[in-house]
């Protein structure tokens, strides 16, 4: 790019300026962190390092950089794991580079990828960028390492592993999995007060769900009977699938919005919101999310992922609201979920790919999977971790784990292609007129289908 020329001209000026203006503190902080220099990829004999500036590591020490989008509690966990890793790799120091959560992660990730400074591993959530990164050659295939180690994949859920396999190459070894908003949380007290039977999986249907939701609703008290989080595409997809429909076909190439089952699913959601007024519009949900609303006693039941078990346990402790969890109702095509997984990609620019692989193996070990679940995070998609007998003593967890492992057919991955982020953005905004009661389901789906088809016809970026 053009600034490399720029740089040569002005480098001396920079040095002059920096030496006259910058203080000693800064000079100490200044250094070529990013030069991923001559380091070998060997796990044990690496002699040269991309040196982090402030604390110059001892010679022969390798800094393994993990780029993470996460919360403080998880950073702590990775640091502990880094210490554990150092027990077997004494010359390696794990450096967790986390910037907190939310949208800014994309800016940091893409800038670092463009600059070639991303480090040795970076966090990736499956459908969002995976196809693009793989197609653009960003991801280093892991097969050489898997083969060299004879790494055993038999415990892994095959559907998750296959998702990251393309043309016979394995690009990611997933470190976490869940099956999306396939759980239904409900307020026992509210059901009792209304004299209604509690939801009974696996027989419950969406029609019963809608009927119950209507009876639990109390407009004066601002209580909604149920929440299907319609502003969240993943929830729309779970409902559509249970009717036998979806947003896109399996290849991610054609819109299936106008197929009969998908229309029926959107009719159900529209009916709940606009006719029965039993389901909040996205804007009507309490700030902080449906789980907060549920904890405040304003929601009879709601659809969400397994993580809310832990959130509710924290939120509700003192309010002594009685609640329970089951699975979402079934539609004409049965009960469905959707598979979401995460992993740590090894970028092709990493000079420590072997070490990164070693660390990912540690992340994916069954012991660490169990430890992560116990902390409220998610486990690698391996049966020996997910079905850990100690964890299975928790009935709510057991219900989720059993569904995840033993009913994989119900939860395929989300539709995806190299424009995943873009069509999800379209789905988030495009259906607004349904949820606002401003357009009919058929008209809105037709319009979104038109936009979606135009989007899919565009050449891939």
């Amino acid at each position: 790019m053009s600034e490399s020329k720029q740089k040569k001209v002005s480098r001396r000026d920079f040095l002059r300026v920096t030496t006259t203006t910058a203080t000693g503190v800064l000079l100490a902080a200044c250094g070529a962190v990013t030069a991923p220099d001559v380091g070998t990829t060997g796990g044990t004999d690496a002699s040269s390092v991309p040196a982090p500036a402030a604390e110059a590591p001892a010679p022969g020490k390798v800094v393994l950089r993990l780029h993470e989008r996460t919360i403080p509690y998880k950073v702590e966990y990775w640091k502990e794991l880094g210490a554990k890793f150092a027990e077997t790799h004494p010359n390696v120091e794990l450096k967790v580079e986390a910037d907190g959560v939310g949208n800014p992660y994309n800016e940091k990730m893409l800038t670092s990828l463009a600059g070639g400074t991303i480090g040795d591993m970076f966090w990736l959530v499956d459908v969002e960028n995976y196809d693009t990164f793989r197609a653009k050659g960003v991801l280093a295939p892991l097969d050489p390492f898997i083969e060299a180690d004879g790494y055993d994949l038999s415990q892994y859920l095959p559907n998750v592993i296959d998702f990251y396999k393309r043309d016979g190459k394995q690009y990611i070894l997933p470190t976490g999995v869940h099956n999306g908003p396939e759980n239904l949380f409900y307020n026992r007290d509210m059901f009792e007060a209304a004299g209604l039977p509690t939801p009974q999986s696996p027989d419950w249907t969406w029609d019963e769900f809608a009927e119950t939701a209507t009876r639990l609703t109390n407009a004066d008290e601002k209580v909604f009977g149920a929440n299907i989080p319609v502003g969240w595409s993943e929830a729309q997809i779970v409902v559509a699938r249970s009717y036998g429909g979806d947003i896109l076909d399996k290849e991610g190439k054609t819109s299936t919005l106008l197929t009969e089952p998908t229309v029926a699913a959107f009719n159900l959601m529209s009916d709940l919101i606009n006719e029965r007024k039993a389901n909040p519009r996205p804007a009507e949900i309490m700030e902080g999310g449906a789980n907060k609303m549920f904890a405040a006693g304003k929601l009879g039941m709601y659809m969400s992922g397994p993580w809310d078990v832990y959130v509710l346990r924290e939120l509700i402790a003192e309010n002594s609201l009685n609640w329970d969890m089951t699975l979402v109702p079934k539609g004409p095509a049965g009960r469905k979920g959707q598979l979401v997984s995460e992993g740590y990609a090894v970028p092709t620019t990493s000079k420590n790919q072997q070490l990164a692989w070693e660390f990912i193996k540690l992340m994916c070990s069954p012991e660490e999977g169990v430890a992560r679940i116990a902390k409220g995070f998610i486990s690698p998609p391996r049966k020996d971790a997910i079905l850990d007998p100690k964890l299975m003593e928790d009935p709510m967890y057991a219900m989720y784990a059993d569904e995840l492992v033993n009913n994989t057919a119900a939860s395929p991955t989300l539709p995806h292609n190299a424009r995943t982020s873009e069509f999800f953005q379209l789905l988030i905004t495009g259906f607004d007129s349904i949820w606002l009661g401003k357009g009919s389901v058929q008209d809105t789906l037709t319009e979104v289908d038109r936009q979606l088809t135009a989007l899919l016809a565009k050449p891939l970026p």
Partner: protein, 318 residues
């Protein structure tokens, strides 16, 4: 006293400035002028011009930030005007936002500055309270505002409900969402940067002008019209120029609070650009969007400078 006598255009051909100079003195002045602005020139050449030109180049390419850019000529610009349905939508959202936020923001700040320049008790406290929004971190203020504006469980509709008014859906209603964001922006901006610059400008007005006006028998209103306002025009001009540039680039609040919805009612131009650049891997197209914005803003700014001599009063224009 007045802003009338000055008709010299600020943005004038370079010839004018040279015409007045008399030989050596003029050249010496020019050299010293360049010496004084040289820190900026160096900084611009070193840090800014390269990235700016790079983005201009990228606007003629297909660039995903991951692999090398591919030259496609004017294709991005063609698509913008013929294929991108959201280009005009987002431009209109941005313009209509600017039309409210800039006049109300600058006007509100000016009034606040005048109010807080009165010799009132507890002025320091009032100023601090007005100023608080602009120093509250955005993550905190957006959290609090979305909570306050929640249609059912927010404080504002709760209070409105107490006096029998059914409040709107605020951020959730296409008819109210942009208004809500204008409200939020005004809340954040009126007591902040703009107000501070006005307070500083008020402070800078020489007292003898007021004394002279008072001797002439000018009342409070006349003193404002003939002394205060003309002396504030350079700062008003400053705030209008930067206000427009800033509001055309607004997108953080929309991204965090509404994600452009509902029904694209808060889909700002730079939000469109940002999504293209950082979510959809179309940095080349986003660069083209950015350069169209650049030319719109450049044109606005140029015109404002050109006509500024009609209303902006400088005591010392060289």
């Amino acid at each position: 006293m007045g802003a009338d006598a000055r008709q010299k255009p600020l943005v004038a051909p370079g010839a004018r400035t040279q015409g007045h100079q008399q030989g050596k003195t003029g050249r010496r002045e020019a050299v010293w002028g360049l010496i004084f602005i040289s820190p900026w020139l160096i900084g611009f050449l070193v840090f800014q011009v390269g990235p700016m030109l790079a983005s201009l180049y990228l606007s003629f390419t297909q660039y995903d930030s991951l692999t090398a850019p591919r030259w496609i000529g004017l294709e991005n610009y063609r698509y913008m005007f013929t294929g991108d349905e959201l280009f005009l939508t987002s431009l209109w959202v941005t313009i209509s936002y600017t039309l409210f936020v800039v006049p109300l923001g600058v006007g509100g700040s000016l009034l606040s500055a005048l109010l807080l320049s009165q010799p009132i008790r507890g002025r320091a406290l009032f100023r601090a309270l007005f100023f608080i929004p602009s120093i509250t971190p955005a993550v905190a203020s957006i959290f609090v505002w979305t909570w306050l504006l929640n249609p059912h469980y927010g404080l504002i509709n709760y209070l409105l409900g107490l006096i029998g008014i059914a409040g709107p859906y605020w951020l959730g209603d296409p008819a109210w969402a942009r208004t809500s964001l204008v409200l939020l922006s005004l809340w954040a901006a009126v007591g902040g940067t703009t107000m501070i610059t006005f307070i500083a400008a008020l402070q800078n007005i020489p007292q003898h002008l007021y004394e002279a006006a008072e001797i002439d028998g000018a009342g409070a209103f006349k003193r404002f019209v003939h002394v205060t306002f003309p002396m504030l025009t350079p700062t008003i001009f400053f705030n209008v120029i930067l206000g427009i540039i800033g509001s055309f680039q607004q997108f953080t609040i929309a991204y965090v609070a509404t994600n452009g919805g509902p029904l694209y009612s808060t889909y700002f131009y730079v939000l469109h650009l940002y999504l293209k650049a950082f979510r959809f891997f179309e940095m080349g197209y986003a660069s083209a969007l950015a350069w169209i914005l650049f030319f719109i803003l450049l044109m606005f700014t140029f015109l404002q400078f050109r006509y500024s001599s009609r209303w902006v009063h400088y005591d010392a224009e060289v």
